[in-house]
């Protein structure tokens, strides 16, 4: 069912990761991604993976959840692995007719699989431990220098938080409408491509109708509460950074340095 998707979901908690300032969490996620992509060898990937495991341990998010979040990307992993495995040149270790597997192909594919898995699992931690509201507040704060060049930072953040806020609502709505149409005998599981595309009409039309009416209602409700953009707006929850945030960021920077050192060391 649609409800089983966990990517981008927020799991409330009280762990170290939940308590970190969301701005720093975004920065640390950036550093983490840099760790994975700066690594040029297997050994250099280790700090990134270890960092991710520490993150999961510190977040108290169940490991099974991480495995579940990886399910949807399995096809992508398989597809890119096959491409990399068979089409990279280098020292040939296996050859059958026109199929050849090279040493470079194997190492590159292995590294890529680890990279993708760590990337998805690690960056999912950001959304698992940060509420959408906190996340957009953090983005607004991080982008605020752009206000100087008249970039509508607040409006962008508001749009993002509204969009994020309504994803679960829309998923629930879609589920409901699908059930209602199935109850009327709508057939969505069989038939060719055209038939299936046509079978979507009974779902998409009500979904759009309700999404638009919801948007109108929300706009009215915001106007009723005198919303008029970001100018002079104060917050209920102020973002504040503490020693904890700086320490965690330094910790992640140490790991990034380890990657660079390992790169140099392994190459030499």
């Amino acid at each position: 069912m649609l409800k089983d998707i966990t990517i981008g979901q927020f799991f409330p908690g009280n762990s170290l990761l939940h308590k970190l300032d969301p701005r720093f969490k975004i920065i640390i996620t950036g550093i983490f991604i840099a760790m994975l992509f700066a690594a040029q060898t297997f050994t250099a990937l280790i700090p990134g993976v270890v960092f991710m495991i520490i993150g999961y341990a510190a977040s108290k998010i169940p490991f099974s959840l991480m495995i579940k979040s990886l399910k949807p990307i399995i096809p992508i992993i398989i597809f890119t692995s096959i491409l990399n495995l068979f089409f990279l040149d280098g020292i040939v270790i296996f050859k059958l007719w026109i199929i050849k597997i090279t040493y470079d192909g194997v190492t590159y594919t292995g590294m890529m699989i680890i990279r993708i898995i760590a990337l998805i699992a690690g960056s999912s931690l950001l959304t698992y431990t940060t509420s959408p509201i906190a996340l957009t507040d953090a983005i607004e704060s991080l982008l605020s220098p752009l206000k100087k060049i008249k970039f509508p930072v607040h409006e962008l953040a508001m749009m993002m938080s509204i969009a994020l806020r309504f994803i679960p609502t829309l998923i629930e709505e879609t589920d409901k409408i699908m059930s209602a149409q199935k109850a009327r005998g709508a057939d969505m599981e069989s038939g060719g491509l055209i038939h299936r595309a046509k079978a979507l009409t009974p779902i998409l039309v009500p979904l759009f109708v309700s999404a638009f009416s919801r948007a109108m209602e929300l706009a009215t409700a915001m106007e009723c509460r005198c919303y008029r953009g970001g100018e002079g707006r104060t917050r209920l929850k102020q973002l504040s950074s503490s020693a904890r945030d700086y320490l965690t960021t330094s910790f992640s920077l140490i790991f990034l340095n380890m990657v660079f050192l390992l790169n140099v060391y392994m190459a030499g």
């Binding site: 966990t6 579940k68 059930s179 209602a180 199935k182 109850a183 009327r184 005998g185 709508a186 057939d187």
Partner: protein, 282 residues
């Protein structure tokens, strides 16, 4: 004859996640054909989850569901046919409307059944009449109609499949008193005309008291009781513990009894109350 039967029906949401919850727990039910059953229960008592099992929308975690004696999750069973037999009207069904005319929207179900054009036309006209939609409305866009009319179009869309079991999840929620009356009376008409089994979820004890012959009380995912209407409403104290109540008129008579008047307490409709009071007077 038993129309709907469940055996040890259990359903658990989100197995293996922090949100795991058993919504329906070991439900054993036998509903006779032609019965009009009111389903009551506190929010989150598992009513909506239970009814979504009866037409095969949800697959039970364990247990069986039998419609007219056949297991709907049997390998040879076709769930789509089950859905034509067991019509389900969801809460706020007007949100499922999608066609550009009322007629086409009511015809969606019958069309999916693969009926002939003549038969579809006949059913659309017949059900539109049951739910009190005048013929000139049929060619209009459903999005131009009032809330109550939309609701009736959506209910007609399910009735047009002529299900032998009709289930409605709070069909009158959010309507004005006159709209409520109309729709409930129309459901009763369908029940009588087609000799159908009707299951009606409602939060209004008055509505349930007036229309249902039997009442199913759900509490925390389990069936608390399934009895004739008077028997259920004689358990006022037990119902109160579950956050439910009895019809207002029953409360009045309970209070009268408390103050020492010699009155019956199995009174749950106003008509019946008037009759009994007049009897006492004479």
């Amino acid at each position: 004859m038993t129309a709907v039967k469940t055996e040890n029906l259990t359903y658990t949401y989100g197995i293996g996640t922090p949100f795991e919850k058993t919504a329906v727990n070991d439900v054993n039910l036998e509903i006779e054909q032609g019965e009009l059953v009111g389903i009551i229960g506190h929010t989150g008592s598992g009513k909506s989850t239970l009814i979504q099992h009866l037409n095969g929308l949800l697959k039970p975690t364990s247990g069986r569901i039998l419609i007219d004696g056949a297991d709907i999750w049997d390998k040879s069973a076709n769930r789509r046919d089950v859905r034509f037999k067991v019509g389900l009207v969801f809460q706020y069904p007007e949100y499922q409307i999608f066609e550009d005319t009322v007629e086409k929207d009511i015809a969606f179900g019958p069309k999916n059944m693969g009926l002939s054009d003549d038969e579809i036309k006949k059913r659309v006209i017949e059900t539109a009449e049951i739910v009190g939609l005048s013929p000139e409305i049929l060619t209009k866009s459903p999005f131009e109609l009032s809330g109550g009319q939309k609701r009736r179009v959506a209910i007609a869309g399910v009735m047009a499949m002529e299900p032998s079991v009709l289930i409605l999840d709070e069909p009158v929620a959010g309507l004005d008193p006159r709209g409520r009356e109309k729709i409930l009376a129309q459901i009763k008409t369908y029940h009588a005309k087609k000799n159908a089994t009707v299951l009606l979820i409602s939060h209004s004890m008055e509505d349930v008291a007036r229309y249902a012959s039997k009442i199913l009380v759900m509490n925390e995912g389990s069936v608390y009781c399934y009895e004739d209407t008077p028997i259920v409403f004689s358990k006022a104290e037990e119902l109160a513990k579950m956050g439910l109540s009895v019809p207002q008129i029953t409360k009045v008579f309970l209070k009268l009894k408390e103050r020492g008047f010699d009155v019956r307490t199995d009174i749950y409709t106003i008509d019946f109350a008037i009759k009994k009071l007049l009897e006492m007077k004479n």
